[in-house]
Symmetry: C2
Subunit: 188 residues, 2 copies
């Protein structure tokens, strides 16, 4: 893209370029694996100049962190079905759908990479998990308020989320509804 | 390194270069995160020429797969303590030590990346997990032969290994002995 083309573009260009670049990153991770591409390849795929990426994100590392945080922040809201079993089954099925969807493994790889990409990524990842833990805790608190026994929030991480994450990260898919419900029933 | 230096080297050079390059990869993953370095940087770190790496491994991707497989194949043997609780506690503590050691998170990242780096990596990862599953199954079979009730091998993956892997991948460390024993006790 040269200066003339850029000048011709109408408003909202920045958001559009952002979305194109984010999708290019997700596609390249899906196709080649995390870490197997350059800023130039992201730019070519997104149809923008390398310099646009460097100007906005500074480095591939920052761009990957931005994509990870944007995608992870866009996760579905917590369900509220009236029972803990219903909430956890719905939540687990929702997470399974997200991580086995077309961009799912790429987003999981981004999440994992976030925690290994220096202090900034580690802190951003920790903030994100803290927010998600808070939402999950609210769901468990609602159950306790209704008089239902509820597990610890870290038990949900260890025994519902971690098995699904690891199976997707290791390519042990699909996650069947029976498997997902089995994780929830076992925990409850 | 130029041709003259190479010619001067004594036997065993190939093994030594291999070990240097593998360690350089592991160090760079630990320091910068997976995917944040080039063949040139690995070569500089290992003190070898870029061309040595390309000649031997062909690409950064193949090199990363080789490091992953070598490290994952070097895992400790399965314990045989005489009781399933003893075996699983020892095994879990051993895995925890490996994945929280100096190279542990890097090796876990390599394992995860293996499954996202195309068909070859996916198959190599699957072979490796099949071998590990076979060893774990032998441990569970020994327990059953002694008359002890034993869980399914995939329950060990889902409820002992996956929680520890995810906590290390997300930087939620340390894994305390109480936490590790708790995972085993809960499964049994």
């Amino acid at each position: 893209m040269n200066e003339r083309q850029r000048a011709r573009r109408p408003g909202g260009r920045s958001a559009r370029v952002g979305a194109q670049v984010h999708q290019a990153v997700t596609d390249l991770i899906s196709e080649r694996g995390y870490g197997n591409f350059t800023v130039g390849e992201v730019a070519a795929r997104a149809g923008v100049a390398d310099s646009s990426i460097y100007r906005r994100w500074g480095s591939l590392e920052n761009l990957l962190t931005d994509v990870a945080l944007t995608r992870l922040n866009a996760q579905s809201p917590m369900p509220d079905t009236g029972s803990l079993a219903g909430d956890l089954r719905t939540y687990a099925a929702q997470v399974a759908r997200e991580i086995t969807g077309p961009d799912g493994p790429a987003v999981l790889h981004l999440a994992v990479a976030l925690s290994s990409s220096g202090q900034q990524g580690l802190e951003a990842g920790a903030d994100l998990r803290a927010e998600r833990t808070r939402q999950l805790q609210s769901m468990l608190d609602r159950a306790r308020d209704r008089g239902e026994p509820a597990p610890d929030v870290f038990d949900v991480l260890d025994h519902i989320l971690a098995p699904m994450y690891i199976r997707v990260l290791f390519g042990m898919v699909p996650l069947t509804p029976d498997y997902i419900d089995g994780l929830v029933d076992r925990l409850l």
